[in-house]
């Protein structure tokens, strides 16, 4: 299993542009919803699925949880990003399934076998 720690619940401080770019990259890689806090205080909650820094005005794209989307938000309008949604890739479905199989096998084995 992956030992990488989930970012679920992370509320990073964004102090400069370099940090913003880093947090956006982490949010892009995150398989859960995030809350994007805009400079005007508005909050967008949804899945951030794309970012592009190779353009004159870098932007992120997201599907908001409530709404059809997708919507684009320029980096310059972002004040903070919080990792508020459940990390759907942090689950251990395979490990849980293996444990279940082992338990079922043990239960069906005759005692002392």
């Amino acid at each position: 299993m992956s030992e990488e720690k989930s970012l679920e619940g992370w509320t990073p401080e964004i102090s400069d542009a370099a940090t913003l770019a880093e947090v956006v990259d982490r949010a892009f890689d995150y398989r859960g919803d995030v809350t994007v806090v805009l400079q005007d205080g508005r909050e967008l909650i949804g899945y951030l699925f794309n970012r592009n820094r190779d353009v004159a005005e870098p932007f992120v794209q997201m599907f908001e949880r409530e709404g059809s989307g997708p919507s684009s938000v320029p980096y310059a309008r972002i004040r903070a990003i919080r990792f508020t949604g459940k990390d759907t890739a942090a689950g251990n479905s395979y490990a849980a399934w293996l444990r279940g199989k082992e338990a079922a096998k043990a239960a069906s084995s005759p005692p002392g076998a």
Partner: protein, 340 residues
């Protein structure tokens, strides 16, 4: 090889046409993902880990068809997610067949019998159900993390074959695969009457639940060499024999990341079906603005070093067949003799 002659001809003329026009980068198979939702959660899959509201979304048929037109590839593979859960799968397939695209509908086949009985599909040389089968019953049910799926898939395949559909299988192999068990699996699939089998080593998706069992390059060569050293004549593979030789370590191919471009809810995926490093709004932009030199083994990119997956290397093998005498000769030899 079990690819129908008409399909081979279509691919050959397409590749040669691209070369004659001086195109060096062109797509062979569009990987069209109309949805991410699936009725399984397989250990090696990194495709479905999204929040519920994303999983509930899907592309419209019109979006899918626009992507197909834009891309222009002669073959369209419909993975997902589980495409049989896509509410408009019948209409989508019908439209693609009408456009004479060779469609591989990649399904776990849990819903196949039900959809066939509902009359959703019509047999066509352009349509093949590519059923996910990761080995014999024990191995497959373990790979998909649910007991009974192998039997359901077999039932669906039998029904499809009975109704005259093309049926192939696609198998992803991990480092716990047994060459002998896989050979038994090939026999079983041939006994069922499938047209051909597709094989590929798995790719270690960073988001996949099981990170322990992905094959490294040398192990891939060893496994495939043992498995395919003396292939039975009756085993039919629905893929390039040169790609199988590559997996056995007999060919050295670089990746062609643009060979199987991927389109889904997020747009055109950069750079390939496996890596998600961003999305382009159009196919043209994908092709023109992706830094292709940063991908493939020779690039030194860590993420590409152990990758031998079909979506990047089979296009290389196909191009090799149709653009070099050696490639053509090796392909003909393997096809005629059945030796890899």
């Amino acid at each position: 090889m079990s690819v129908p002659v008409s399909q081979m001809w279509t691919v050959a003329t397409y590749v040669l046409g691209q070369r004659l026009r001086g195109n060096t980068r062109y797509p062979l198979v569009l990987m069209l993902e109309p949805l991410f939702r699936c009725n399984l959660a397989c250990a090696g899959c990194g495709k479905i880990q999204y929040p519920g509201h994303v999983l509930r979304k899907h592309l419209s048929v019109e979006q899918c068809l626009a992507a197909v037109e834009e891309c222009g590839a002669p073959m369209v593979s419909i993975p997902g997610g589980e495409p049989l859960m896509y509410p408009e799968i019948g209409r989508l397939v019908k439209e693609l067949v009408a456009r004479r695209k060779y469609v591989y509908l990649c399904t776990n086949a849990i819903l196949l019998k039900e959809k066939l009985e509902a009359g959703l599909f019509t047999p066509s040389k352009y349509l093949s159900f590519s059923v996910h089968m990761d080995g014999l019953k024990q191995e497959h049910d373990e790979a998909v993390c649910r007991d009974g799926v192998f039997d359901q898939a077999v039932e669906g395949m039998k029904e499809a074959l009975r109704r005259g559909f093309r049926v192939t299988t696609n198998t992803t192999l991990f480092d716990n695969a047994s060459p002998i068990r896989m050979q038994m699996f090939f026999d079983e699939m041939m006994d069922l009457g499938v047209e051909g089998m597709m094989l590929s080593p798995g790719y270690s998706y960073s988001k996949a639940p099981d990170q322990e069992h992905f094959l490294r390059r040398q192990k891939t060569n060893e496994l495939f060499s043992k498995m395919l050293e003396n292939p039975k004549k009756r085993w039919k593979f629905n893929q390039s024999p040169l790609f199988l030789q590559f997996l056995m370590g007999k060919q050295d191919f670089e990746c062609t990341p643009w060979g199987n471009p991927t389109y889904n809810l997020f747009g055109w995926q950069r750079p390939c079906y496996l890596l998600q490093e961003g999305y382009a709004p159009t196919f043209k932009e994908l092709m023109e603005t992706t830094r292709w030199e940063e991908y493939g083994r020779k690039s030194g990119n860590d993420k590409c070093q152990d990758c031998m997956v079909h979506c990047g290397h089979e296009p290389t093998a196909v191009n090799h067949t149709f653009t070099s005498w050696k490639g053509f000769r090796d392909t003909v030899a393997a096809t005629v003799t059945g030796r890899l």
